[in-house]
Protein backbone atom coordinates (compact mmCIF):
# COMPACT_ATOMS: atom_id res chain seq x y z
CA UNK A 1 0.00 0.00 0.00
CA UNK A 2 1.59 3.32 -1.00
CA UNK A 3 1.56 6.56 0.94
CA UNK A 4 -1.38 8.04 -0.97
CA UNK A 5 -3.56 4.96 -0.45
CA UNK A 6 -2.81 5.12 3.27
CA UNK A 7 -3.71 8.80 3.34
CA UNK A 8 -6.99 8.13 1.49
CA UNK A 9 -7.82 5.26 3.85
CA UNK A 10 -7.29 7.49 6.89
CA UNK A 11 -9.11 10.45 5.33
CA UNK A 12 -12.15 8.20 4.77
CA UNK A 13 -12.39 7.74 8.53
CA UNK A 14 -12.52 11.51 9.03
CA UNK A 15 -8.85 11.89 10.06
CA UNK A 16 -8.20 15.66 9.73
CA UNK A 17 -4.43 15.24 9.38
CA UNK A 18 -4.82 12.80 6.49
CA UNK A 19 -7.20 15.18 4.77
CA UNK A 20 -4.68 17.98 5.26
CA UNK A 21 -2.09 15.78 3.57
CA UNK A 22 -4.38 15.17 0.59
CA UNK A 23 -5.15 18.88 0.40
CA UNK A 24 -1.46 19.71 0.35
CA UNK A 25 -0.88 17.23 -2.46
CA UNK A 26 -3.89 18.05 -4.64
CA UNK A 27 -4.56 21.76 -3.99
CA UNK A 28 -2.53 22.92 -7.04
CA UNK A 29 -4.40 20.57 -9.40
CA UNK A 30 -7.75 21.51 -7.91
CA UNK A 31 -6.90 25.20 -8.19
CA UNK A 32 -5.76 25.00 -11.81
CA UNK A 33 -8.88 23.15 -12.96
CA UNK A 34 -11.07 25.61 -11.05
CA UNK A 35 -9.15 28.53 -12.52
CA UNK A 36 -9.65 27.26 -16.08
CA UNK A 37 -13.38 26.88 -15.47
CA UNK A 38 -14.03 30.04 -13.44
CA UNK A 39 -11.39 32.32 -15.04
CA UNK A 40 -10.88 34.07 -11.73
CA UNK A 41 -7.96 33.66 -9.34
CA UNK A 42 -9.95 34.60 -6.27
CA UNK A 43 -12.91 32.37 -7.05
CA UNK A 44 -10.61 29.46 -7.94
CA UNK A 45 -8.83 29.77 -4.58
CA UNK A 46 -12.18 29.86 -2.77
CA UNK A 47 -13.36 26.87 -4.78
CA UNK A 48 -10.25 24.90 -3.78
CA UNK A 49 -11.03 25.63 -0.12
CA UNK A 50 -14.70 24.69 -0.60
CA UNK A 51 -13.82 21.35 -2.20
CA UNK A 52 -11.59 20.21 0.65
CA UNK A 53 -14.14 21.37 3.23
CA UNK A 54 -16.70 19.20 1.38
CA UNK A 55 -14.37 16.24 1.74
CA UNK A 56 -14.06 16.96 5.45
CA UNK A 57 -17.84 17.07 5.78
CA UNK A 58 -18.48 13.78 3.99
CA UNK A 59 -15.31 11.68 4.26
CA UNK A 60 -17.26 8.46 3.68
CA UNK A 61 -17.82 9.54 0.07
CA UNK A 62 -14.08 9.47 -0.69
CA UNK A 63 -13.50 6.42 -2.93
CA UNK A 64 -10.80 3.87 -2.17
CA UNK A 65 -9.95 3.54 -5.87
CA UNK A 66 -9.82 6.32 -8.46
CA UNK A 67 -9.45 9.22 -6.02
CA UNK A 68 -8.09 11.71 -8.53
CA UNK A 69 -10.87 11.41 -11.18
CA UNK A 70 -13.44 11.51 -8.37
CA UNK A 71 -11.85 14.64 -6.89
CA UNK A 72 -11.83 16.29 -10.31
CA UNK A 73 -15.52 15.48 -10.66
CA UNK A 74 -16.20 17.18 -7.32
CA UNK A 75 -14.24 20.24 -8.50
CA UNK A 76 -15.99 20.28 -11.88
CA UNK A 77 -19.49 20.03 -10.36
CA UNK A 78 -18.69 22.65 -7.75
CA UNK A 79 -17.44 25.06 -10.43
CA UNK A 80 -20.54 24.44 -12.55
CA UNK A 81 -22.68 25.35 -9.52
CA UNK A 82 -20.66 28.55 -9.06
CA UNK A 83 -21.00 29.42 -12.74
CA UNK A 84 -24.76 28.88 -12.58
CA UNK A 85 -24.98 31.10 -9.51
CA UNK A 86 -22.79 33.67 -11.19
CA UNK A 87 -25.17 33.76 -14.17
CA UNK A 88 -28.11 34.34 -11.82
CA UNK A 89 -26.32 37.16 -10.06
CA UNK A 90 -25.19 38.63 -13.36
CA UNK A 91 -28.83 38.97 -14.29
CA UNK A 92 -29.89 40.41 -10.94
CA UNK A 93 -27.03 42.61 -9.88
CA UNK A 94 -24.69 43.16 -12.80
CA UNK A 95 -23.03 46.21 -11.31
CA UNK A 96 -22.23 44.57 -8.03
CA UNK A 97 -20.78 41.45 -9.56
CA UNK A 98 -17.01 41.15 -9.29
CA UNK A 99 -16.35 39.14 -12.41
CA UNK A 100 -12.65 38.95 -12.92
CA UNK A 101 -11.10 38.50 -16.31
CA UNK A 102 -7.70 37.93 -14.73
CA UNK A 103 -7.20 34.73 -16.72
CA UNK A 104 -7.70 36.49 -20.03
CA UNK A 105 -5.59 39.52 -19.34
CA UNK A 106 -2.57 38.56 -17.26
CA UNK A 107 -1.00 41.38 -15.25
CA UNK A 108 2.33 42.77 -16.52
CA UNK A 109 4.37 41.21 -13.72
CA UNK A 110 3.04 37.76 -14.51
CA UNK A 111 3.37 38.33 -18.23
CA UNK A 112 7.03 39.19 -17.78
CA UNK A 113 7.64 36.08 -15.71
CA UNK A 114 5.78 33.63 -17.93
CA UNK A 115 6.91 32.41 -21.30
CA UNK A 116 5.04 34.25 -24.04
CA UNK A 117 3.93 31.05 -25.71
CA UNK A 118 2.28 29.82 -22.52
CA UNK A 119 0.30 33.01 -22.11
CA UNK A 120 -0.93 32.98 -25.69
CA UNK A 121 -1.94 29.32 -25.53
CA UNK A 122 -3.64 29.84 -22.16
CA UNK A 123 -5.58 32.83 -23.44
CA UNK A 124 -6.82 30.75 -26.37
CA UNK A 125 -7.74 27.87 -24.06
CA UNK A 126 -9.74 30.11 -21.75
CA UNK A 127 -11.82 31.28 -24.70
CA UNK A 128 -13.05 27.76 -25.50
CA UNK A 129 -16.54 26.53 -24.57
CA UNK A 130 -16.66 25.18 -21.03
CA UNK A 131 -16.87 21.45 -21.87
CA UNK A 132 -14.01 21.53 -24.37
CA UNK A 133 -11.89 23.56 -21.94
CA UNK A 134 -12.58 21.09 -19.13
CA UNK A 135 -11.81 18.09 -21.36
CA UNK A 136 -8.45 19.58 -22.41
CA UNK A 137 -7.44 20.37 -18.82
CA UNK A 138 -8.44 16.92 -17.61
CA UNK A 139 -6.57 15.19 -20.43
CA UNK A 140 -3.41 17.26 -20.85
CA UNK A 141 -2.88 18.58 -17.34
CA UNK A 142 -4.55 16.00 -15.10
CA UNK A 143 -3.60 13.06 -17.41
CA UNK A 144 -6.98 11.39 -17.05
CA UNK A 145 -8.03 8.71 -19.54
CA UNK A 146 -10.96 9.26 -21.90
CA UNK A 147 -13.11 6.97 -19.71
CA UNK A 148 -12.22 8.92 -16.58
CA UNK A 149 -12.94 12.23 -18.33
CA UNK A 150 -16.32 10.93 -19.50
CA UNK A 151 -17.06 10.01 -15.87
CA UNK A 152 -16.08 13.49 -14.64
CA UNK A 153 -18.04 15.35 -17.31
CA UNK A 154 -20.98 12.95 -17.23
CA UNK A 155 -20.96 12.21 -20.97
CA UNK A 156 -20.36 9.18 -23.22
CA UNK A 157 -16.68 8.27 -23.63
CA UNK A 158 -17.04 8.58 -27.41
CA UNK A 159 -17.74 12.30 -27.02
CA UNK A 160 -14.51 12.98 -25.14
CA UNK A 161 -12.30 12.43 -28.20
CA UNK A 162 -14.58 14.69 -30.23
CA UNK A 163 -14.45 17.48 -27.66
CA UNK A 164 -10.67 17.26 -27.36
CA UNK A 165 -10.32 17.39 -31.12
CA UNK A 166 -12.79 20.26 -31.48
CA UNK A 167 -11.17 22.15 -28.61
CA UNK A 168 -7.74 21.91 -30.19
CA UNK A 169 -9.08 22.88 -33.61
CA UNK A 170 -10.84 25.89 -32.11
CA UNK A 171 -7.69 26.90 -30.22
CA UNK A 172 -5.77 26.73 -33.46
CA UNK A 173 -8.31 29.02 -35.12
CA UNK A 174 -8.08 31.51 -32.25
CA UNK A 175 -4.29 31.45 -32.39
CA UNK A 176 -4.25 31.88 -36.17
CA UNK A 177 -6.66 34.83 -35.96
CA UNK A 178 -4.42 36.41 -33.40
CA UNK A 179 -1.51 36.04 -35.41
Amino acid sequence: MDNEERLIGRARTGDGQALSGLAEQYAPQVYRLAFCLLKSEEEARDAAGDVFVKLYESPEKIPVQGFKPWLMKVVYNHCLDLLRRRKTWQGLLPRLLRYSQAGLEPDPAQAAADAEEQIIVRQALLKLPEKERAALVLRYYQDLSYDEISEVLGVAASLVGTWLHRGKARMKEILEQKG
Binding site: A23, R32, Y56, L164, M171
Partner: protein, 171 residues
Protein backbone atom coordinates in the same frame (compact mmCIF):
# COMPACT_ATOMS: atom_id res chain seq x y z
CA UNK B 1 -5.25 1.75 -44.76
CA UNK B 2 -6.47 5.24 -45.65
CA UNK B 3 -4.88 8.22 -43.95
CA UNK B 4 -6.58 8.70 -40.54
CA UNK B 5 -8.17 12.04 -39.69
CA UNK B 6 -6.75 14.34 -36.98
CA UNK B 7 -9.14 13.02 -34.33
CA UNK B 8 -8.01 9.44 -34.90
CA UNK B 9 -4.35 10.48 -34.86
CA UNK B 10 -4.98 12.39 -31.65
CA UNK B 11 -6.63 9.37 -30.01
CA UNK B 12 -3.66 7.24 -31.14
CA UNK B 13 -1.18 9.62 -29.46
CA UNK B 14 -3.31 9.66 -26.32
CA UNK B 15 -3.27 5.83 -26.26
CA UNK B 16 -7.05 5.80 -26.64
CA UNK B 17 -7.59 4.16 -30.03
CA UNK B 18 -10.69 2.02 -30.22
CA UNK B 19 -9.39 0.16 -33.33
CA UNK B 20 -6.29 -1.98 -33.59
CA UNK B 21 -3.30 0.32 -33.15
CA UNK B 22 -0.95 -2.01 -35.06
CA UNK B 23 -2.60 -0.98 -38.34
CA UNK B 24 -1.96 2.65 -37.45
CA UNK B 25 1.69 1.91 -36.61
CA UNK B 26 2.33 0.26 -39.94
CA UNK B 27 0.53 3.10 -41.76
CA UNK B 28 2.68 5.67 -40.00
CA UNK B 29 5.83 3.85 -41.09
CA UNK B 30 4.76 4.24 -44.71
CA UNK B 31 3.15 7.71 -44.65
CA UNK B 32 5.39 10.74 -44.06
CA UNK B 33 2.38 13.10 -44.05
CA UNK B 34 0.75 11.31 -41.13
CA UNK B 35 4.10 11.12 -39.33
CA UNK B 36 4.32 14.90 -39.61
CA UNK B 37 0.73 15.08 -38.38
CA UNK B 38 1.67 13.05 -35.29
CA UNK B 39 4.63 15.31 -34.58
CA UNK B 40 2.45 18.42 -34.95
CA UNK B 41 -0.19 16.99 -32.62
CA UNK B 42 2.42 16.03 -30.03
CA UNK B 43 3.76 19.57 -30.18
CA UNK B 44 0.22 20.94 -29.69
CA UNK B 45 -0.27 18.70 -26.66
CA UNK B 46 3.01 19.82 -25.20
CA UNK B 47 2.07 23.47 -25.63
CA UNK B 48 -1.27 22.94 -23.91
CA UNK B 49 0.35 21.00 -21.05
CA UNK B 50 3.03 23.67 -20.54
CA UNK B 51 0.43 26.44 -20.62
CA UNK B 52 -1.65 24.71 -17.94
CA UNK B 53 1.32 23.83 -15.76
CA UNK B 54 2.41 27.45 -16.04
CA UNK B 55 -0.73 28.78 -14.35
CA UNK B 56 0.62 30.59 -11.31
CA UNK B 57 -0.64 29.40 -7.96
CA UNK B 58 -1.59 32.01 -5.36
CA UNK B 59 1.28 32.32 -2.88
CA UNK B 60 -1.06 31.52 0.00
CA UNK B 61 -3.01 28.67 -1.62
CA UNK B 62 -1.72 25.93 0.71
CA UNK B 63 -2.14 28.05 3.82
CA UNK B 64 -5.61 29.16 2.71
CA UNK B 65 -6.88 25.60 2.18
CA UNK B 66 -5.37 24.40 5.47
CA UNK B 67 -6.94 27.36 7.25
CA UNK B 68 -10.37 26.55 5.77
CA UNK B 69 -10.02 22.97 7.01
CA UNK B 70 -9.02 24.13 10.50
CA UNK B 71 -11.95 26.56 10.57
CA UNK B 72 -14.31 23.76 9.61
CA UNK B 73 -12.86 21.48 12.27
CA UNK B 74 -13.22 24.21 14.89
CA UNK B 75 -16.80 24.89 13.78
CA UNK B 76 -17.55 21.20 14.16
CA UNK B 77 -16.35 21.26 17.78
CA UNK B 78 -18.29 24.45 18.33
CA UNK B 79 -21.44 22.70 17.20
CA UNK B 80 -20.83 19.54 19.20
CA UNK B 81 -19.49 21.02 22.44
CA UNK B 82 -19.81 24.81 22.41
CA UNK B 83 -23.49 25.15 21.54
CA UNK B 84 -24.81 22.68 24.14
CA UNK B 85 -22.57 24.32 26.77
CA UNK B 86 -23.85 27.78 25.80
CA UNK B 87 -27.42 26.59 25.98
CA UNK B 88 -26.94 25.04 29.40
CA UNK B 89 -25.15 28.00 31.02
CA UNK B 90 -27.42 30.61 29.43
CA UNK B 91 -30.47 28.67 30.55
CA UNK B 92 -29.19 28.66 34.13
CA UNK B 93 -28.36 32.38 34.04
CA UNK B 94 -31.70 33.26 32.44
CA UNK B 95 -33.53 31.33 35.13
CA UNK B 96 -31.66 33.38 37.71
CA UNK B 97 -32.91 36.57 35.96
CA UNK B 98 -29.35 37.77 35.52
CA UNK B 99 -29.61 38.64 31.85
CA UNK B 100 -27.27 41.65 31.33
CA UNK B 101 -24.08 39.82 32.35
CA UNK B 102 -25.38 36.99 30.21
CA UNK B 103 -25.18 39.11 27.03
CA UNK B 104 -21.68 40.32 27.91
CA UNK B 105 -20.69 36.76 28.59
CA UNK B 106 -22.06 35.69 25.19
CA UNK B 107 -19.97 38.38 23.51
CA UNK B 108 -16.72 37.20 25.02
CA UNK B 109 -17.45 33.52 24.40
CA UNK B 110 -18.43 34.21 20.79
CA UNK B 111 -15.33 36.31 20.25
CA UNK B 112 -13.22 33.38 21.37
CA UNK B 113 -15.16 30.79 19.35
CA UNK B 114 -15.62 32.65 16.09
CA UNK B 115 -12.44 34.66 15.79
CA UNK B 116 -12.29 38.12 14.24
CA UNK B 117 -14.86 38.13 11.49
CA UNK B 118 -18.00 39.76 10.20
CA UNK B 119 -20.41 37.41 11.96
CA UNK B 120 -18.68 37.98 15.28
CA UNK B 121 -18.76 41.77 14.91
CA UNK B 122 -22.45 41.70 14.04
CA UNK B 123 -23.26 39.47 16.95
CA UNK B 124 -21.28 41.49 19.46
CA UNK B 125 -22.88 44.66 18.13
CA UNK B 126 -26.29 43.10 18.47
CA UNK B 127 -25.54 41.92 22.01
CA UNK B 128 -24.32 45.36 23.11
CA UNK B 129 -27.19 47.11 21.38
CA UNK B 130 -29.66 44.95 23.20
CA UNK B 131 -27.85 45.53 26.49
CA UNK B 132 -27.95 49.32 26.17
CA UNK B 133 -31.47 49.45 24.78
CA UNK B 134 -32.74 47.18 27.49
CA UNK B 135 -30.93 49.16 30.20
CA UNK B 136 -32.62 52.36 29.01
CA UNK B 137 -36.05 50.89 28.57
CA UNK B 138 -36.16 48.73 31.60
CA UNK B 139 -33.92 50.79 33.90
CA UNK B 140 -32.15 47.78 35.21
CA UNK B 141 -35.24 45.96 36.29
CA UNK B 142 -35.24 42.20 35.90
CA UNK B 143 -36.44 41.05 32.51
CA UNK B 144 -38.19 37.88 31.45
CA UNK B 145 -37.00 35.31 29.00
CA UNK B 146 -37.80 37.13 25.71
CA UNK B 147 -34.68 39.35 25.28
CA UNK B 148 -32.49 36.56 26.48
CA UNK B 149 -33.84 34.23 23.84
CA UNK B 150 -33.57 36.90 21.11
CA UNK B 151 -29.85 37.24 21.82
CA UNK B 152 -29.49 33.52 22.18
CA UNK B 153 -31.15 32.87 18.81
CA UNK B 154 -29.07 35.59 17.12
CA UNK B 155 -25.88 34.06 18.50
CA UNK B 156 -26.89 30.57 17.41
CA UNK B 157 -27.81 31.83 13.94
CA UNK B 158 -24.37 33.44 13.70
CA UNK B 159 -22.65 30.23 14.71
CA UNK B 160 -24.67 28.22 12.20
CA UNK B 161 -23.83 30.69 9.43
CA UNK B 162 -20.20 30.31 10.41
CA UNK B 163 -20.40 26.54 10.24
CA UNK B 164 -22.20 26.60 6.89
CA UNK B 165 -19.65 28.93 5.34
CA UNK B 166 -16.66 27.17 6.87
CA UNK B 167 -15.30 30.41 8.31
CA UNK B 168 -15.09 34.10 7.42
CA UNK B 169 -11.73 35.14 8.76
CA UNK B 170 -9.64 33.22 6.29
CA UNK B 171 -9.60 35.62 3.37
Amino acid sequence: MQCPDRQELSAYIDGEMTKDSRQMQSHLQQCPQCRDGVLALKEENRMIRDALQGIDLPADLGAYVQNRLKQRERSWWTLKVGVPALLLISGLLALAGNWIPLIEWFSSVLQFMLGGNLAMHLLIFLGRFLTIAAQHVLQGEPVGMIPTFIVLLACLAGILVQIRKGGYDNA
